[in-house]
């Protein structure tokens, strides 16, 4: 036994970068909401970027480490503690056996990611570790964590960096974390953009929208000025994706998030660019966002730049991790 859930949070689950290749049979990709944070947690440990992580919401689980390992937390700041001492974000930490990780307070963001050096002993479902709660498949038993769930570690020798009672040791390297309170979300026009009345296009591009409490891993409901379509048209069921902004019949918007359905029947007026999905994934009920149009070339460039950064962090961290192991043995 290596890691145990002592107290269950509201929605903590195993995720990776998603399950692709099955959308034609209605199985959505799912995966981490903030894929940048999920990848950077793995990158900082020198892990493969596609390794599974634990996605943590607040109130969060309390997690007991039964073996010594190295962890990294990224994404939301939920004020993480081990034995009453604070843990940093985006910086690897060696944790001793019999230490308890707790999250005390929601400070910023909506989702925190925990990566572990020792890969959890889990089985992929359809090529992915992501938890699909609708299909009760993937991740840990196809569901969110419950009290006493235990995950074993594999693929790595036991480590003994910490002696005696020292609860943890923060390692020397880290990545920068950014905190954005007012969120500008960049978008590409959707297929039904031109169904909007001129004034509605202006509202979409200039007004502020509030993320309502009716928001979850499937989608965010927004509240703002009413948006109208020119003449009452109906869309037949059509493909949608993570970040698709749909216009609901009453004139309000919904942004589809990681656990979206594969098809939908509401006009797709915009698509949030991949590079800004992490920003959106860290937005919370009550947060205010606005939309800004960009073009395809910039959207691609921004995403590829993020991927390059992650790759660099991963390469550098892997090197540091190897040096650490070499020093000890």
């Amino acid at each position: 036994m290596s890691l145990q859930i002592i107290k269950a949070g509201i929605l903590d689950s195993i995720q990776d970068l998603g399950r692709y290749g099955f959308q034609h049979v209605g199985i959505n990709p799912g995966g981490a909401m903030d894929k940048y944070a999920a990848q950077s947690a793995n990158a900082l440990l020198g892990n493969d970027l596609t390794s599974p992580v634990i996605e943590i919401h607040f109130p969060s689980s309390e997690i007991l480490f039964k073996k010594q390992t190295i962890i990294c937390l990224t994404g939301a700041d939920f004020s993480a503690y081990i034995n009453n001492l604070p843990l940093p974000l985006a910086q690897p930490v060696v944790v001793n056996k019999k230490t308890l990780l707790k999250f005390k307070k929601k400070i910023s963001g909506a989702r925190c990611y925990l990566a572990v050096l020792h890969q959890p002993d889990l089985v992929k479902w359809l090529n992915s570790y992501s938890t699909n709660m609708l299909a009760c498949s993937g991740g840990f038993k196809g569901r969110a964590f419950k009290r006493n769930d235990t995950i074993n570690f594999m693929n790595h020798p036991e480590i003994h960096y910490l002696k005696g009672d020292q609860p943890f040791k923060i390692l020397s390297w880290k990545a920068t974390t950014s905190c954005n309170f007012f969120k500008t979300i960049r978008f590409l026009k959707g297929n039904e953009w031109d169904w909007l009345a001129k004034e509605s296009k202006e509202i979409f591009e200039s007004a502020r929208f509030k993320i309502t409490g009716n928001s979850n891993r499937m989608g965010y409901r927004l509240e703002g000025d009413k948006i109208d379509i020119k003449d009452q048209q109906q869309l037949i069921s059509s493909p949608v994706t993570f970040g698709t902004v749909q216009l609901l019949p009453e004139g309000q918007l919904i942004i589809l998030m990681a656990d979206h359905q594969t098809t939908g029947g509401y006009p797709r007026i915009a698509h949030v660019i991949s590079a800004d999905l992490p920003l959106l994934a860290q937005a919370d009920a009550g947060d205010i966002i606005n939309f800004k149009e960009v073009d395809q070339v910039l959207a691609e460039h921004l995403f590829l730049e993020q991927q390059r950064d992650l790759q660099q962090i991963q390469t550098a961290s892997k090197f540091k991790m190897e040096a650490l192991h070499a020093m000890r043995y």
């Binding site: 692709y20 209605g26 199985i27 297929n191 037949i236 069921s237 594969t262 797709r268 959207a299």
Partner: protein
């Protein structure tokens, strides 16, 4: 190439090819042809494809496309060019390659939660509803909404019914329903608004299998009626 075919973005890593906003057998066959061709090509940069009624979305790996085409203006333009070639080809699937599947349905009232209401509203006997529903092959136009949920059509006008105004909180797995001129089957227990006229003992979604869903876009389905006893012992 059809002049009405449009190519647009669906997110910054997807292309939407739209043949028109209508439910039309011929358009759906074009979507299906294109879907088959894309699958056959096995391009490594294509990560997912969603065929729908009259449009299809193709998602690609930006890193993969960019690494192979350093000079392309955008990955989108590059993938679009390749897909335009495929749309031109207009391959037609031979009839013999279409899978035909018979699906048993028990139309007994304990499963057919809405059949009485349809019977009253459409002034048609329950037996007639069953006869009409089992009288033809339905095409799986697309899979969506839930893992393995087939959108099939078209049902006869005599039994066509709009969705329920208040969706049920729980529709049991296997429930066979009608929504407008479409018929469908719930692969897993879920909330839903389709008018339920029966239940199949077939398992449309089994997570343990390598191919976890039973039905695929392009399949043709024929329903046949079974008794409650047959359902129980299936």
């Amino acid at each position: 190439m059809n002049a009405e075919v449009s190519f647009s973005v669906i997110g910054d890593n997807g292309i939407l090819i739209d043949f028109g906003n209508t439910i039309d057998d011929a358009l759906n066959r074009r979507v299906f042809d294109l879907f088959k061709q894309i699958k056959q090509k096995k391009n490594s940069f294509i990560i997912d494809v969603i065929p729908a009624y009259s449009s299809i979305a193709i998602f690609y790996d930006l890193k993969n496309v960019r690494s192979k085409n350093a000079d392309a203006v955008s990955c989108f333009e590059n993938v679009k060019l390749q897909l335009q070639e495929l749309v031109k080809e207009e391959m037609s699937i031979t009839v013999s390659s279409i899978r035909k599947i018979k699906i048993p349905v028990c139309y007994a009232e304990k499963f057919a939660l809405d059949i009485k209401e349809i019977s009253v509203k459409k002034s048609i006997s329950i037996d007639e509803i069953i006869n009409i529903h089992t009288s033809k092959f339905y095409r799986v136009y697309m899979i969506g909404f839930l893992p393995g949920f087939p959108y099939m059509g078209e049902v006869d006008d005599k039994i066509a019914m709009p969705r329920k105004s208040l969706p049920r909180i729980t529709v049991p797995a296997g429930s066979v329903g009608i929504a407008g001129k479409q018929t469908g089957i719930y692969p897993i227990t879920s909330p839903g608004g389709w008018q339920i006229i029966g239940r199949t003992p077939f398992n449309l979604f089994d997570k343990e299998k390598d191919q976890p869903v039973l039905l695929y876009p392009g399949d043709e389905i024929e329903f046949y009626s079974i008794t409650e006893n047959e359902f129980t012992n299936y």
